[in-house]
Subunit: 390 residues, 2 copies
């Protein structure tokens, strides 16, 4: 348990995708209004005392420091405090972590966590993902170290070790697109076949386009509160029972090993310890499948199966809807999309809906404990959050 | 009091300035080693459980999201958690605020807060300050709204209202440069005269170069811990008794009034309430004098004098060393410099040294309570922190 108890009482997201009709501010206003429209409880704008904003791209697309005021202005939230957090692709989950600490410290009763990203307004060539590692002014930055390259290295090593096959990766894409078809908020709502994944255009050996998550616009938001107050806002609160954040080596050339990631493992162990649970207690998980191989790595890093067991575990059907531990029922980053700052927040939205039995066609029956796994860079920063139905 | 008690037990900074010989990573390593070199206590690297990194420029100079790992790597800090916070020029103080919440929540006993910025590696034309408001891709962003322009508007209104004169602003520059001469870590260690300020090159009417803080490289760091443990690390801990963060309107064209700032006033009132003190209890303050007029505004926004009383209060000598409430004994942003993400952290370093009687020639005698005032943008985000000698 985090301090004296932190609960989630409302969640919202916009449809992820190519949202040319909505500005950065529009997306924020949409998720905020959706939170307030929840008819069940007593959530009025004035009850929310502070906010944490997660967004990664301020400096790149907007070409300025972002500041918390970029949330306060469209939401008419001033003079209330807003902290902006950026922690690469794990920023959304870390914003939840910091907001939870403020509640656990007794500083605020009710806070907003909002993640937002506009990534498709620039041509791909100028996008963050294309720039990643290629435009740094620092001499020691490995040239060409884009994200597919970083994860392609893991895939190459794991294939060489005979731990996974090319088809295993394709099967992750198939599974998550099958799940995403059931999610009205997903970006890529189309089933794909193993053959289509293998035949799609190559990105970085051995990854093809359908092994990679799409560049995405989107926003998601959560209301956290002191657990004692949760029933004022909803009859079915979900407790945020644990949060773990860990770092790992920054660069590929200093990485001691490929095919496993120390940071995600550490973040998960810290979260399991805080929650007092084991991986076997988890009923549903949202994993950071930025690339198909990343989900296979996650099965092992998180202890869902033993080291080297990802292929067999995947093929057993365990992580599919209907399996023993459905992973990415939302469609994950591969199908739902990956608006960087919003991703960790949207992962916990999905867990919130799953634990309340509100996930419609993609519902995991009887889910009581859910986990989110949100990885920045090549495992440089990982945040794992765990929630439980009250 | 913040939760169950948060104390500052160590502080360090590098000399601010034009630091071409030191990289972003070098500056971080320097302040980290300086913290650990403190001979008094029991502070070893392994005692520090988590970190908060404040830096603003990642997206602009490094052209990538920064992530906490950019601290973990040079400090060999992994796998420990690192959160990166960006909140414009107030990020350093907000990083302290979030770190304090985590301690108050009982999550960590000992944490690091580190602020760092490399601003002088790019030509001025490409710098953040030049870009501010001029290169945004967003259609509604006022063109030409650089920082001097934003603060020049306040100055123009206050002069028109007869509240301040051009010479009052110059006197702030004179005072803070006089203080900075006494600070070995200050960038601009030269006294200036009113005549020199008035005759220096114009930047934005009525501000001249010597009304503006310099673009600066620098880093600063603090160790915070649970107050119960503070005496393990030092015989003279300083308690962080309060923190207040507030937002204000994002844009000049939506600002209801000039010549006062709602955000800083709100942040200060929240901090005074949390600390249970009045402005008259404060013995020393570090103010956000990014421009001379900003310090005059701060006197009034913080309640150091009545609204409209800044000129008389300044000329009374109250905010000078030897006065009743010395402001910016460090030299402030005008003389010490303003490496954006590091500024709020360095402000609290100065207060830490002042409250411990370690400020050398610029010591404020008998100081027991100190305040930092750290403003982002045109008052869009303000964080006020208050510390007290135990």
């Amino acid at each position: 348990m985090i301090g004296s108890g932190v609960s989630i009482v409302a969640a919202s997201m916009v449809r992820f995708g190519e949202r040319f009709e909505s500005s950065y501010e529009d997306l924020m206003v949409d998720v905020w209004n959706a939170l307030l429209a929840d008819p069940e409880g007593d959530l009025t704008p004035d009850r929310v005392e502070a906010a944490w904003l997660s967004t990664a791209l301020g400096g790149l697309i907007r070409r300025e420091a972002v500041t918390g005021a970029s949330l306060a202005d469209p939401l008419n939230f001033y003079p209330r405090p807003v902290t902006r957090i950026e922690n690469a692709c794990a920023g959304g989950s870390d914003a939840i972590r910091n907001a939870a600490f403020a509640i656990a410290a007794g500083i605020y009763d009710v806070v907003l966590v909002l993640g937002v990203e506009k990534m498709r307004d620039l041509p791909t060539k100028a996008s963050l993902i294309a720039q990643r590692g290629t435009m740094s002014h620092l001499w020691w930055h490995p040239r060409g170290a884009t994200s597919p390259y970083l994860f392609g290295q893991h895939a190459t090593v794991m294939m060489e070790q005979g731990r996974i096959t090319r088809e295993d990766m394709a099967l992750v894409s198939v599974k998550n697109h099958d799940h995403g078809v059931l999610n009205p908020n997903a970006f890529m709502r189309k089933p794909v076949t193993v053959e289509q994944v293998l035949a799609s255009p190559p990105i970085c050996e051995p990854l093809t386009v359908l092994d990679c998550c799409p560049t995405t616009d989107g926003a998601a938001a959560l209301i956290l509160c002191r657990s004692e107050l949760a029933h004022q806002f909803t009859s079915a609160p979900v407790e945020l029972v644990a949060t773990g954040l860990a770092t790992d080596t920054m660069y590929s050339h200093t990485k001691p090993i490929f095919g496993e990631q120390a940071g995600p493992t550490r973040a998960a162990l810290d979260a399991y310890k805080m929650a007092g649970i084991a991986p076997s207690d988890i009923d549903v998980a949202e994993l950071h499948d930025c690339f198909t191989v990343a989900e296979l790595l996650a099965y092992e890093d998180l202890g869902f199966c033993e080291r080297g067991g990802a292929s067999a575990w995947l093929r057993s059907g365990a992580p599919s809807l209907g399996g023993s531990l459905p992973c990415n029922p939302s469609g994950g980053l591969l199908s739902k999309g990956h608006p960087i700052g919003a991703t960790g927040v949207a992962q916990l939205c999905e867990i919130f809906w799953q634990l309340r039995g509100e996930a419609g066609e993609r519902q995991v029956e009887g889910a009581r404990i859910g986990l989110t796994h949100n990885v920045g860079g090549n495992g440089q920063v990982t945040c794992v959050n765990i929630a439980q139905r009250m």
